[in-house]
């Protein structure tokens, strides 16, 4: 494997959801996403309507990857946040280590409020994610890992 798989357990997922639910209310957002910087969706909370959340996550990560590279080209280390303001809906993306906190909001909120509330939530998400990464490393060395029990038949059955 190229890198250690990230394993998110139920209690860690619930902690993330709790932070996201509070952030949603505090900044009167429409929906809040937590996305890995490589484009994997982790969790969301709020009104997604018929939005394709998987594609949204991939594009958010691509967006941050592109702007981070642009930052380096102009001598900045990183852009800690990316903002897109639309006529009705806007997007605020906060870069937290290897994850992204993405807030979608409309005219019921303001960019200032979203920035302020997201900052606090970012610290909490970062702490939970550190916990996830630490546990994932442990999981890798565990001989009793659930995934060690996957058989060839299990894998073949996916393609039958």
């Amino acid at each position: 494997m190229a890198e250690t798989p990230i394993v998110i357990h139920e209690h860690q997922f619930q902690k993330m959801k709790t932070v996201m639910a509070r952030l949603l209310v505090e900044c009167a957002a429409r929906v809040v996403f937590l996305v890995d910087r490589d484009g994997q969706p982790i969790a969301y909370h709020g009104d997604i309507g018929d939005m394709d959340t998987t594609s949204f996550s991939s594009l958010a990560a691509g967006n941050v990857a592109a702007t981070s590279s642009m930052a380096k080209l102009i001598g900045e280390d990183v852009f800690p946040a990316v903002v897109h303001e639309g006529e009705r809906e806007s997007i605020f993306i906060s870069v937290i280590g290897r994850s992204l906190l993405v807030v979608v909001f409309d005219e019921r909120s303001t960019l200032g409020l979203v920035k302020l509330r997201t900052k606090k939530a970012s610290y909490e998400v970062a702490a939970i994610f550190e916990d996830v990464v630490r546990d994932s490393e442990k999981q890798r060395v565990s001989e009793n890992s659930f995934f060690a029990q996957i058989t060839d038949d299990d894998i073949d059955s996916l393609f039958s």
């Binding site: 494997m1 190229a2 250690t4 890995d36 994997q40 998987t54 691509g62 060690a148 996957i150 894998i155």
Partner: protein, 194 residues
């Protein structure tokens, strides 16, 4: 990087289709998209130029089924093949779990294949990976065209380890799913190893 979520019981993996410009990477994804049941796939997102050349990436999520109660989803990406989009290619390789190299079998594209394969090795290294260690499949595409290089010759130039090789005509779907299955299987086998 594989993401395993015990709460939603999902495994998410990232597979990248790499290769020179116009070798058929997007055609592979388009065929998979067209041939898959609606409930197993998300949208096919294509960030392309006005002339339909991939500008940043193509993306589609594909759900293959369940392994031991976990939904298994593969995120399929292509990179832009044109030489000058190298910065984009590097970004898309971040967090990759498996790579498919799509080679253009036409004689006049041999140099482009070799250059692109070197570029893949370099870009993987710049992201901290090594082609030898990661799940990898070689697809020899456009086998239906008249001016193709014999398979043995292509293999002699492009083979990097004992990776599976598939002859393909992606526009007609030949070899497309065999290639996908081979790389997906390697990714899951790696996951089992831990």
């Amino acid at each position: 990087m594989t993401f395993i979520n015990y709460a939603s019981r999902e495994i998410n993996c990232k597979i990248v289709y790499y290769g020179p410009g116009l070798c058929g990477k997007t055609t592979n994804l388009q065929y998979i998209y067209d041939s898959t049941a609606p409930q197993a796939k998300g949208k096919l997102i294509s960030l392309a130029t006005e002339t339909d050349r991939t500008l940043f990436f193509d993306f589609m999520p594909l759900e293959l089924g369940t392994v031991r109660g976990f939904k298994t989803r593969f995120h399929l990406y292509t990179v832009p093949g044109q030489v000058y989009y190298d910065a984009s290619r590097k970004l898309i390789l971040k967090g990759v779990d498996g790579v498919v190299f799509v080679a253009d079998s036409q004689e006049e594209r041999m140099d482009a294949n070799i250059e692109s394969l070197y570029n893949l090795e370099e870009n993987l290294q710049s992201q901290g990976y090594n082609l030898i260690d990661i799940p990898y499949v070689l697809q020899l595409n456009k086998r239906d065209l008249p001016n193709v290089v014999p398979t043995e010759e292509l293999a002699a130039e492009l083979l990097r380890k004992s990776e599976p090789i598939f002859e393909a005509t992606a526009s007609q779907g030949v070899g497309v799913f065999d290639t996908l299955k081979a790389v997906a299987k390697q990714v899951l086998t790696e996951l089992r190893k831990g």
